[in-house]
């Protein structure tokens, strides 16, 4: 080994051999970084098809009701009757109740995942009582049948598209907060919750009332639920007692 082979970093200039090596290493590491980033980024958890156009506020007119979560039944621009869950902007339910259905106008942004629709209301004052409008009738719940469902417990707001992805173990803390904040709870029954075809019926207790924060401990966990599947307008829910919800892993 001669002087040229011995690197001393405080010298003003590295030897030619070191410069060549360092240049090669820099190029190699740079290419490897770009390649590794692309490879890992392309194979992450699917975000799901949901979307929240947070700054795009629209006015919706319809019947606001508590069934079991706050929801709005309204006619869309094509005249079809739609059901949308109504939530706030953070990880908390709106401080609004509707013990009996009432006609309202809501200025809100849409969180949409396929046909599933949720309206996010930035301020409770955006909900105003309305009169004179032709309102759709309240839906009658239809029992679909008893069922055994297996899936991941999610909060509906994130799963609809507030988070993308809004499921999986890294999302557990967020889901737990949303559930503690009394946002709607759902059960993603697909093996791939990011798929466009995945469905997530709401999960309520055996009487159709929200389970509330007691399910926060199950957030993002794989669970099995034995209950009754019920359809109410656009909303599908599974009614199950807390004892019929079992953690799988």
């Amino acid at each position: 080994m001669n002087d040229d082979d011995f690197y001393v970093g405080w010298r003003p200039k590295a030897h030619a051999a070191d410069r060549r090596f360092l240049l090669g290493a820099a190029i190699g590491l740079g290419v490897a970084a770009l390649g590794a980033g692309a490879a890992l980024g392309a194979r992450g958890l699917a975000p799901g098809p949901g979307e929240w156009r947070q700054d795009d506020l629209h006015v919706y007119s319809g019947l606001l009701m508590q069934d079991p979560y706050l929801r709005l039944r309204f006619r869309d621009t094509s005249g079809d009757v739609r059901d949308a869950l109504v939530v706030g902007y953070g990880k908390n339910a709106l401080p609004v109740t509707a013990a009996s259905p009432r006609a309202v106008t809501i200025r809100a942004s849409a969180i949409e995942r396929g046909r599933a629709l949720m309206l996010a209301v930035p301020d409770p004052a955006n909900i105003q009582d309305a009169t004179g409008a032709r309102m759709p009738a309240t839906p009658a719940p239809q029992i679909v049948g008893e069922t055994l469902l297996v899936g991941e417990l999610v909060d509906a707001k994130c799963w609809y598209g507030a988070m993308r992805p809004g499921y999986g173990k890294p999302h557990k803390g967020c889901a737990a907060l949303c559930i503690q904040g009394r946002l709607p709870i759902a059960l993603c029954t697909s093996s791939a919750c990011g798929d466009a075809e995945a469905v997530a019926p709401l999960l309520v207790d055996e009487n159709g009332a929200p389970h509330g924060p007691r399910l926060a401990a199950f957030a993002a966990d794989p669970i099995a639920v034995t209950g009754v599947l019920v359809r109410s307008g656009d909303l599908l829910s599974v009614r199950a007692a807390i004892g019929d919800i079992r953690r799988l892993g």
Partner: protein
Amino acid sequence: MSATYKAVQWTPAKIGYDAVTAFGVLGFVASYIAAGISAAPDAHPSEIQLAMRALGAAAFVLFTVILLIGPAARMSRRFLPLLYNRRHLGVTCFAVAATHAALSIVWYHGFAQINPLVSLLTANPRFDSITGFPFEFLGIGALAILFLMAATSHDFWNALLGPRLWKALHMAAYPAYALIVAHGLLGVTQSEPSPLHAAAFGAGAAIVAAAHLAAGLRERARDRIIAATTADGWLHVGAPELIPDKRARIVDTGAGARIAVFREGARITAISNRCRHQGGPLGEGRIIDGCVTCPWHGFQYRPEDGVSPPPYRERVATYPTKIVGGEVFVHPHPAPLGAVTAPSITGRS
């Protein structure tokens, strides 16, 4: 080497090193996010969530590179320039990991009525489960160690704590890496449909372990001798010709100490093999401008008294040498720190 302390003593090499590091990290993160968006053309992935994942992956990859530089430099001197400013990588790794943590805490644990840190610590109490384990705690542990190492990476702390304590503190890099691997395996990979992320964590850990094992085995087999001891306690080094000019032969005393016996022309001197800075192997360095120069960070010591040239003040032990019958001997007991030990002169120049 520092006579006075500056935040960073910039040199062209350090600027280039940091520029490549910045390009590598930003390139990794950007390609990760771009690929994540491209992979879901019909969806609207959250750029923030992609960024937090990309930053976490970048911290892991960077940490893996950091831990590979040590054994790589032991295997080939070509990698020593990467070792020289490795602490810059460490500080960058902490910054990337901290950004990942901050984004994750704000995004997943913010926007609620509970304090985000309280939520972080209480959201998942499943310590009794492997698959459900609160992996966030593993990340917190790793981040705390990374902070400790980044905060004490400056030579000021090395001088204040002493090289042994400083080195012991920075050996916590290995538990931190293990925590990051576990954080990834029990966290993000639990939900991934693709095995690529889990494979990356496993492969990174396996490569780091294999590289250290290979370097350790090579170290044992290198030109290092446990010297024969004469009746009066001197250690036999060998003929002067066995020591390349301006370089050293490392002698193991058999009692845990190593002595670097240098030859510069006809002058034979011996100093501790352990650099005062970070414990670098002085015997693998060379004599430059009359000073033994450490191969790791270029710290220098005069061979006759083990003291760094002015204005620097670092000191290492020197050892008496003698030449008897054309053979070099070194005494295993060091001279007092800073004392001049006269070099032995061989019969030729």
